[in-house]
């Protein structure tokens, strides 16, 4: 089970093991990590699981689909390295992944 680190905007960091096949959003919600809401349940229909991914990790992730980019238009403070965490599926390749959460989701 890869270790994933979620960093809140105030710097608080949470590292948990998340099962392969789950999304980064599910990893946060199932472990009660604050800062990721996932209101729509992973349907890419809201923008409340928004995270920032630092460059070296960002490039390792599967590319964003158009639908994800469209949804990010509606996120709070989107940046170039924004992702919807429901669209990042955990695999062994992501061991040690760090995601940073925005100041808020809604």
């Amino acid at each position: 089970m890869p270790k994933i680190t979620y960093v809140e905007s105030n710097g608080n960091s949470h590292t948990v093991n998340v099962e392969n096949g789950l999304s980064v959003m599910e990893g946060a919600v199932q472990n009660n990590i604050p800062g990721i809401d996932g209101d729509c349940g992973g349907g890419m229909a809201c923008a409340t699981c928004h995270v920032y991914v630092k460059d070296h990790w960002f490039d390792k992730l599967e590319k964003k689909t158009d639908g994800e980019e469209d949804m990010l238009d509606q996120a709070y403070e989107p940046k170039k390295n924004s992702r919807l965490s429901c669209q990042i599926t955990i695999t062994d390749d992501l061991e040690g992944l760090v995601v940073n959460m925005p100041e808020k989701q809604v």
Partner: protein, 339 residues
Amino acid sequence: MIKTDALIIGAGPTGLFTAHQLKIIGLSCEIVDNLDKVGGQCIELYPDKPIYDIPAIPECTGEELTNNLLNQLKPFDIGFHLGERVDELKKTNNEWEVKTNKGKIFLTPNVIIAGGVGSFEPRKFVPKECEKYEDKSLFYSVKNKKIFDGKTVSIFGGGDSALDWAVELSKNCKVNLIHRREEFRGAKSTVNKIYELQKDGKINLFTKYQLKSVTGNGKIDCIEIQSEDQKVESIKTDYVLGFFGLIMQLGPIANWGLNLDKKTVEVDTEKFETNQKGIYAVGDICNYPGKLKLILSGFHEGALAARACFALARPGQKYRFEFTTSSKTIRDRLGVKSD
């Protein structure tokens, strides 16, 4: 003032079926929803996406589900109050006085919250100072386009609302269209129109820019926008419009003295009643051990909450369980002929 046996907050699938259950057992009901149409998340978030887990319906879209639920309500007389948000709830003698943002007042012994994940509100700009210009020179929707005539309007967003208004307002105003990336997600024909208008000098396009700050005195004079590579541009503008879609906020529900857990309301699993007598919560917004956020769970919860409403709406009368297949009373309510 509208008197009713039960008031439902939220016209999503759970709210609609709860209305059906109330009418089947002979209670009156009214439905309020902040959106201007029924269907809730099914219509707002995924009208075209297929749903595969509605019992006995192998596959349907959010829109089809909503239409079917509305069809099922056809025999009944139900008051819909769309585009209104319930703001206040207060107890007056054993009844709840419920007030909407448009000043409408309901008096009812039963309030059923079928609010999904809260009410849909426009996503707002990030800079804090935007708030003080809101509804004066900064808007998230257009109510009267005449006020923009001859002025400079800066429109933010990349979807249909932003593009449609950019095209429309370019007829009588100077328009700046600002979007966080190169690609627009609006209809292709509208996107092409935007590029044409840009060529003709009717629209100034700024892509890969976002709002950094707003300055003015009472009304906006100037905005600063910042690009991904930190380049800042200053633009003189009279008005700012933001179209970033809708987000879901718990909203006023948070102030009604209910036991909350994150964005959900705690209920019992007999009546789906909250810690306040006569206030129930059903569907995605309610929370109890084992809660599943499925539409089918919302239907079950609504059916039970409706029965609980009977006791408060008809004190002294005993609720008698009946099947729709065999009850003449129910068939009369449905307006179908009994054999």
